[in-house]
């Protein structure tokens, strides 16, 4: 009777399956309303592919990148609220190095005051250190992640303001433009960066034992420690990765607008990232995580937003509409619903098996 819960070997039980189905359904609706929704065209002048689908993936880049880290944080049983603020910090630092002193360098143009390597490197390092700070509070201070990261969520934007004297800098430096607006292999650069990040995180967690350690600590920290896992180090690394990824997302975001925006850059990104992870099937209580699910989750969120824009639903209704669809997806993924479908498919199988 060790088999109290039988695995319904059907994939209908997997949350990722439901996320994929949800995404497919939303796209199908788009297709039915506007058959040209799926069309992709090549623009020789920019050397890039254009189309709604490309746009969805492109625009979801920041959330996808951040939610790779968020997946690990949530798998540890925590949340990181500071990611949105770190996006603003990264943008502020990058623009600071590009323009330095707006009074001296009065007009934005195709130049950078400090070497480009600093423009990109310093924001990433600072964000990684801020992530490390979060991790330190959690691992060594024993503070709950949601509280520990609240600190940087609140003061991160303040730091960004201070760095830029509360001003909004703009730049015209063309190498910087490439990050958010350039292209590679006919695809927008953010997509390329996202793919690299996703692959890198997937390799790091699944080709080493790091993913297993994260899941283990997420399920049972005490037992993991007694099995020799240095839970503290795992937590530090995870928060640092999340900080670093928020930095990358911040660079993409500010390159898109070629400016810094301490108030609005990355606003509510933490919520979207958490949502992407949850839609992707990773449990908020920690444990098993699915990076693939998170990618789908992020795409679903962006598809909904695109859908709203594309079909001219009034802007005021956007948030409500988004909430509605997400509610449906989450209910579809809930335990009772999945059980119900699993049971039905098991029954159907049993019946067809009996008929033979």
């Amino acid at each position: 009777m060790t088999m109290k819960k039988t695995d319904f070997s059907g994939i209908m039980q997997s949350k990722v399956t439901w996320a994929v189905i949800a995404e497919a359904l939303i796209l199908l609706v788009c297709f039915l309303i506007r058959p040209d929704f799926f069309s992709i065209s090549y623009q020789p002048s920019t050397g890039m592919l254009y189309g709604s689908l490309i746009d969805i993936v492109n625009r979801s880049a920041e959330i996808t990148i951040i939610s790779m880290g968020m997946t690990l944080v949530i798998a540890l049983g925590g949340t990181d609220l500071s990611v949105g603020a770190l996006v603003a910090v990264a943008g502020a630092i990058a623009l600071k190095f590009l323009r330095w002193d707006v009074l001296t360098y009065t007009t934005p143009g195709d130049y950078t005051v400090y070497p480009y390597i600093l423009v990109l490197g310093v924001p990433l390092i600072v964000c990684a250190l801020m992530g490390l700070f979060n991790g330190f509070l959690v691992a060594k201070g024993g503070i709950q992640p949601i509280i520990a990261t609240l600190i940087l969520m609140v003061c991160g934007r303040g730091i960004a303001q201070i760095l830029t004297d509360g001003k909004q800098f703009t730049t015209g430096y063309s190498p910087f433009r490439i990050i958010g607006q350039g292209s590679f292999l006919c695809l927008p650069m953010p997509i390329i960066i996202t793919v690299i990040v996703v692959i890198a995180v997937a390799l790091f967690t699944r080709k080493t034992a790091f993913g297993a350690f994260v899941e283990s600590v997420g399920v049972n920290p005490s037992a993991s420690r007694l099995s020799g896992i240095k839970a503290g180090s795992v937590i530090l690394i995870v928060f640092m990765i999340t900080g670093l990824l928020s930095g990358i997302a911040g660079l993409i975001y500010s390159s898109r607008i070629m400016s810094n925006d301490s108030n609005n850059a990355g606003l509510n990104f933490e919520m979207d990232a958490i949502l992407a992870v949850v839609i992707g099937g990773t449990n908020m209580a920690g444990g098993r995580f699915s990076l693939a699910g998170t990618v789908i989750g992020s795409l679903i969120i962006r598809t909904i937003v695109t859908f709203v824009y594309y079909f001219g639903i009034v802007a005021e209704a956007t948030m409500a509409f988004k909430a509605l669809i997400i509610a449906v997806v989450i209910v579809l993924q809930s335990e009772p619903v999945r059980r119900y479908f699993a049971k039905r498919s098991a029954l159907r199988q049993a019946r067809s098996g009996g008929a033979k």
Binding site: T2, F8, T208, A212
Partner: protein, 500 residues
């Protein structure tokens, strides 16, 4: 003696996907009876109880309570019907007072407000019926597990339950507390309540029960009067095969001149341990005896780096080592199966494979991962060596029965190929068949040259297996005796009097 039947369960069948958890089981309970429900882990005891409390829905059979057929739909409904259950894991609110816990959800009211005086007065009255003179306004967490358990029972008494189910109530109680519980149980029995008692301790069954019902693999073996069946017969019926194994176990022997593997000199910490010294030889099995809180577990935790050692030195193979965290201990080839399997041992949501490979992997560090194939080979190897009952190594460890979970943890450490294995209550809460298995494995490892430290509250186990026994009392080692010559009485006397 027992009066008329108050509960009858007939032909209970419960089908879980792929397996019949219960197959046509009959069970009956009389007024004023203590009825033990017995069986190995996974025999269907809990399933039967869950069926009675409405947690599991039965596929066939009927339940008749006081001559009326009932269909409990859930624990709340069961309580309304007069069926109250007290589980091993106490389901009360530790932050509420004892009195609040007893009356939560049905507080007596006065002028539209909760009548606190009445609550506290009645709670005191109830607890004093159990000879417990305690301050019922203190939060529940302030009191010992025993008192917490009594609080659950008091709640059941106050709602005038006809049937009280006690699921492993004694597993975390000490001897005095068990006696107190028994007194209460007898009192309740006198008042006509029917009690269903589930425990792994055979002595306790004989101490309080009137009848017993034995289940095996979801089938009913039989219902017997308590004087009808001796212990050996009982165990035979539970396990379904003759139980000579446990009596044929041979004590771990140490060769003359075997080198000392682990040596601790005057180790201690701030509060839990004063001064412990010991030396463990190769292939030796050392028992730690003593009461709960005497320092048995705390010593093991210090040796393994789970808690900090403040004073003293630890040597492995004659070399002094610093153990600051479990990782250091694992590096030095120490292994530790902790007492609280659920909290500190098993990682429930992960598969058996991952649970087994964990210690090996953590010693290697995450940058040197084992391949999936290596992990599977390792897991399959120990699943077959230890006889872990599972369809495959991908099953969630948390879904296994207690005995099998313990084997998974044992496998985790055996896979790490330790020099010293510390087992803290490895046989607690698992059935007798699995107990014998674990003891056999332990002794076999000693034969292979592993040194084992064995902590148990059950003295007969310790005496049966140990080469030497260290007796602890009040956070100190008070004596060291030879396992082959000492008796339970000797050890109890030392524990009581504090000297050899």
């Amino acid at each position: 003696m027992p009066g008329k039947n108050i509960l009858e369960m007939k032909g209970i069948t419960i089908q879980f996907p792929g397996v019949k958890a219960l197959d046509g089981v009959d069970f009956s309970l009389c007024e004023g009876e203590i009825h033990s429900l017995l069986g190995e882990n996974g025999a269907g005891k809990s399933t039967l109880i869950k069926c009675l409390t409405g947690v599991n829905r039965m596929d066939e059979g009927k339940i008749i309570l006081d001559g009326r057929e009932i269909h409990p739909t859930g624990p709340g409904n069961a309580i309304e019907l007069g069926i109250s259950a007290v589980f091993q894991e106490i389901n009360l609110c530790p932050n509420l007072s004892v009195a609040e816990n007893i009356f939560v959800g049905r507080q007596p009211m006065k002028h539209g407000q909760i009548d606190w005086n009445e609550i506290n007065r009645r709670a005191e009255e109830l607890m004093s019926r159990f000879h417990l003179d305690i301050d019922v306004t203190r939060p529940l967490s302030y009191y010992s597990t025993a008192i917490q358990q009594m609080t659950s029972i008091a709640r059941a008494v106050d709602i005038q339950a006809k049937i009280l189910i006690l699921d492993e109530p004694t597993s975390s109680l000490d001897e005095n507390e068990v006696q107190l519980l028994f007194t209460v149980m007898r009192q309740l029995k006198e008042s006509g309540m029917g009690i269903i008692f589930i425990t792994h301790f055979l002595d306790q069954i004989y101490a309080v029960s009137d009848r017993m019902t034995i289940l095996r693999n979801g089938h009913l073996v039989g219902t017997y009067n308590i004087n009808e069946l001796g212990k050996v017969e009982l165990v035979t019926k539970m396990v379904g095969k003759d139980m000579d194994v446990i009596f044929s176990l041979k004590r771990a022997e140490v060769k003359d001149g075997a080198e000392i593997v682990l040596k601790a000199e005057h180790i201690g910490d701030a509060s839990k341990i004063n001064d412990i010294s010991l030396d463990l030889r190769k292939g030796e099995l050392m028992g730690f005896a003593g009461l709960l809180g005497s320092g048995r577990t705390e010593t093991a935790e210090m040796l393994f780096g789970a808690t900090k050692t403040v004073r003293g030195d630890i040597f492995i193979d004659g070399e002094k080592i610093e153990i600051k965290q479990p990782f250091d201990a694992i590096k030095a080839r120490l292994a530790f199966c902790p007492e609280d399997r659920k909290r500190d041992g098993i990682i429930g949501d992960l598969s058996i494979r991952e649970n087994i490979m964990l210690a090996v992997q953590s010693r290697k560090g995450f940058m040197h991962p084992m391949t999936r194939q290596e992990q599977e080979e390792l897991a399959d190897k120990y699943i077959s060596i230890l006889g872990i009952v599972t369809p495959d190594c991908e099953k969630k460890a948390g879904e296994l029965s207690g005995g099998n979970q313990q084997k998974v943890i044992l496998a985790r450490w055996m896979a790490a190929n330790p020099k010293v294995l510390i087992l803290d209550e490895p046989t607690r809460g698992i059935d007798i068949g699995a107990k014998a298995e674990i003891q056999r494995l332990m002794l076999e490892m000693c034969k292979d040259g592993v040194s084992v430290i064995f902590i148990s509250s059950e003295l007969d186990e310790i005496i049966r297996c140990s080469t030497r026994i260290i007796i602890m009392r009040d956070r100190e080692k008070v004596a060291e005796v030879d396992g082959s010559t000492c008796t339970q009485q000797d050890i109890l006397r030392i524990i009581a009097e504090g000297a050899a």
